[in-house]
Point group: D2
Chain length 356, copies 4
């Protein structure tokens, strides 16, 4: 299995560089006879698309996806679905100043050591532009989950913290998430976030963020012991997103400070069905879904491409300083929300096909 | 690839139930001509072995490992190494009271729904007893890393928090870690931990913990984009350990509250070699090792098997209460330290064989 | 995926050397709640067991299998099934004469170059003794196929050629196959085979053979394009058996000499169901089962361990001659019959679990 | 691992339908810093291209390949190489007559049962058009082999039998292979083949063929026991080619009729190096390359798309007859020669990267 692929039964393999000709992916393992069109995919791509608000990068990409195979007369055929997005707003010139400089906080240094090739154009393969294809694959994954679960499943990501400003869970409103530029579930936090992000941008600085993804309506029984536990695979999927440094399931690190009896989710029967009195486990026990909401959080470090000058070295191992101009997200965590949703969707689709 | 296996080139596959005849694993992908004996493996198994202090389970298992194949005249042959440990202190009777009760916080409920079979003897396959084989595989992984890196690498895990009591990093002493029952690097925290664990045990309660695993001396260049990033695979490996609910690399969740310019690890040249001025990245950039120390933390929730009575259901979906007697760890996080080390070792050995 | 494993959903991984402590395997991906005991496995192991007639090796091995995990109270649990056979009749001394000699026609030369370790005891890992574990895995595979197809499937191997003496297909009698020492479906060919094998043994020579494996009652739809075609996977499985040099499906190489219109299997409807007027395809079209009998043949070269002296070299790259004493099969193809059946069973079980 | 992919370290994944928008593949696992351009790939594609002689299909496809990723400034980057060929000469109308008819001898029947979707346009995904992408991947595989072996390796396929007319091995001339429309190594057989193929075409019939692929200069030690034997993987690779029904290594089925002492390849030392006195093994012992020429043969059944009327059924399970017009190869085995070479190249490249 190539390191550019994810999944066992439902799989996707991405390719392409930030400022190359195109990016794309093959989505495989999709059952036949599922309705699928470019529109279905575009809907989710548009959420991640750059250039939509002043709080994200100003790179202009329509991110128009084309289906090249695997769909015939509007239905999936059971064969690989090849997707492509032509890059439009390539500006390799933006990078000519820093052509030989290894941007600290990015993959430039490690890629240079490992591959001995420098695609200076926005990081080449290591760019977060690759995540567009995760979102595309995620949109197809959603179709599979819908079919396998009779539309019972809802996957929803939200931004819950920017810098040190957290949302208030009491204000959580699912509907509001798609009505603001931050995927915030909390209307009240917006002015503070606008203020802090604008300030960071003006200062040539950047901010980290925390994303929470919830999935409701998923059947019990998904996931496989011992190493392909559902939470282990979700952790891998989320940690593979650019700039992610931490992942937690359910109450996560908070569980450490609870006594065992408080942390255990007790079980009762209601209307003939088991219900849990709490959800500290985040919907997963022993690596297998319980039927409760699956809840995962991951953090995204502050964007490393900033205007402030930083010390670094170049490809000749000479000391230098770097200032990253160009069109960068002051808080790359915002656009990670649809990506996190996509990783939840692809992981669950894979397990749906293994189990249901 | 079966869900009971981990790794791509260096792989291991475990089998066995907590109170079955035996547990074991196959370790494969080991290069030929590495010296290996049972003693090499036993050394690490003994660290994880139950019954060694009053702060861990009183189950008595010698955990004596036997090598059944793959070693000839003291050297690895390049063929699969089969390991077995016969279970000795099986006490299925301990579980007869709760034979039909689904222990909350454990995999009992999800296994019952998924498999329709109930191995009530200590959770059967879902028991943390399986982690003995991770430790065994880890000891062989260390041999590979030694060979591939000329003994430059040191992998060391430590307990850094029990309940809400944290170590003081200023007191960190690597040598002390193996000189106490808690794998603590901080001598001063010991009395507090002893007190809190003893109290929890007396109360029939339990405590969570945080483990930090550090690896120094690892060469730059290990890890593979995009989905097999070293941090993504470490996250999966750690999250697959029983009771783990969160994982973070480098400064992890703390990175969210730093401005970009503080979070970026700046680079300089010293004695002709690149050095980093900080290690917020935890030794990994773009999913590839930088050569700095790899630092990972994971949390272990409080043991779910406790004396305090909890509400639950049985296999007939009837409401009941449960009190878990038997010989349980009041803080299962302690014995997770050598397991975390082992997961670091197996993941790195796999990447060493891919790259070096 | 390790090279000692086969299968995607139903998988098995073997370990052990010819004259080591034991041989064994892990069978994984087995659904829960299938009845399984050692007896089920032993039945098939006994067919392959050495020392049963004067036409096979005189090594005495009871080949008694022990189930170490994955079965609880007589039912599979859905977790890995670990099997072990302790070696009994180890006679490393038989090999002391040829300790440093690389037996031509065997893996000795290539293993020596690749691994730099010489397990002179009967070829170590490269010995056909490993195939006992294929047969064990095959017996569990049959259980899965039975369950998934309601016992509709029959898998039957037969010896159809020894040296240049072929059976007459007109005499084919399924019942007779298990009533003779050769797995011959043709009673009339027996005297000729007895004579030719006895002669070869007396002469210190050996004979090749062809095996045919048929599978009836398998549902249409098994197999996956493009690279995991059912026939491609069967070809790999059969070619992986020791000493196999060729594989063909359906009419195989004979198809070359037929005009297209004769080779095509025409289709009609009978009792409302499609039937084929011939079976040149061997039950597979486009890599997917048609529902017709699956028919595969493979050839086994004459045993390379013979009494006649042959030119070879030793591990020091010195010229020498070799005479292989010990207890060898004059026609190793005979005992390949249950192995071929097992490879058919494991491959089909894997595809049953992918599709049914 | 998806069924549309092959390989473990060097992998390729193909996509696309015969008369869809395009076909393509992702080639992954390619080391960085190998020179690669479209021209390198096109050279081999042109050998397989249709419409080049009256003995192959008249479909006109330039088969112009475009590299979309993974190459930067003429060098491979170590990241996935995405290739695409736009289909030009799509004529779905050719298939309108037989839209609902299941072509016997093709995958139509099994795909219909398995997927419930009918891409009537030349078989859709099951078309041999897919093999263009195997050839493309093979051309990149050759680059890797060249680099890893210092250009010592030569991979050459040839047609050795058409219908019942075989070449004479005594006339074998490597240079002649690329100088005729049949990839024949024997000049003298050409007139007979021209005659028999022309006759088959006129009769609305078709012919089978046998292809032999030889590889010289490959180092000893490639291949992995037990299930990823080099011969087992080659067998799978060749059997996965459309219309292939049999595969043999070395002397293959002929080995059955030789006594053991004649079949064994004896070893001597010449100029300090081991040499074999024969090559019945086809360059592979115990699944590992010996350093001798690797020799494999596979047969291709006669084209199933013929003008002669055949009995079949339609998608409504009604009896009908079919006559396949359109532009079909009278002997599809001819164009299988470069495909067989490609499969040899991809398999060897994968093992080169595992071992060298």
């Amino acid at each position: 299995m190539t390191s550019n692929s994810l999944g066992k039964i439902f799989t996707f393999s991405t390719w392409g560089e930030s400022h190359g000709k195109a990016i794309g992916c093959i989505v495989d393992g999709v059952p036949s006879k599922i309705t699928l069109s470019e529109k279905d995919i575009q809907f989710y791509l548009n959420k991640r698309r750059p250039g939509q608000s002043k709080f994200t990068t100003q790179r202009k990409e329509k991110d128009e996806v084309e289906i090249l195979s695997g769909v015939f007369e509007g239905l999936t055929t059971g064969h690989p679905i090849s997707l492509i997005i032509r890059n439009e707003d390539q500006r390799p010139k933006d990078y000519s100043d820093i052509k030989d400089k290894l941007r600290p906080g990015h993959a430039d240094y490690t890629y240079w050591l490992k591959y001995g090739i420098r695609d200076y154009r926005g990081g080449g393969r290591s760019s977060a532009r690759e995540t567009a294809m995760r979102v595309a694959a995620g949109s197809i994954a959603r179709k599979i989950i819908e079919k396998k679960t009779n539309n019972s499943v809802k996957i929803k990501g939200a931004l819950i913290q920017v810098g040190d400003i957290k949302i208030d869970y009491k204000n959580w409103n699912d509907d509001f998430i798609d009505q603001n530029d931050f995927f915030s579930p909390d209307k009240k936090v917006i002015p503070d976030w606008e203020h802090t992000i604008s300030k960071a941008r003006k200062n040539g600085s950047s901010l980290g963020a925390i994303i929470e993804v919830r999935c409701s309506g998923i059947p019990a029984g998904l996931g496989e012991p011992i190493y392909d536990k559902l939470d282990a695979e979700l952790a891998k999927a989320m940690m593979s997103i650019n700039a992610v440094k931490g992942v937690e399931i359910g109450n996560g690190f908070e569980s450490v400070t609870l006594p065992g009896e408080s942390n255990v989710d007790e079980i009762r029967i209601k209307n003939g069905k088991p219900i849990f009195l709490s959800n500290n486990s985040g919907g997963i026990l022993g690596g297998i879904s319980t039927g409760q909401d699956i809840i995962i959080r991951f953090c995204v470090k502050p964007t490393s491409s900033i205007l402030k000058s930083r010390k670094t070295i170049d490809i000749n191992m000479k000391e230098t300083e770097i200032t990253t101009k160009g069109r960068h997200d002051p808080c790359v965590g915002i656009r990670a929300v649809p990506v996190g949703e996509a990783m939840m969707a692809t992981t669950l689709a894979d397990h749906c096909l293994r189990f249901l």
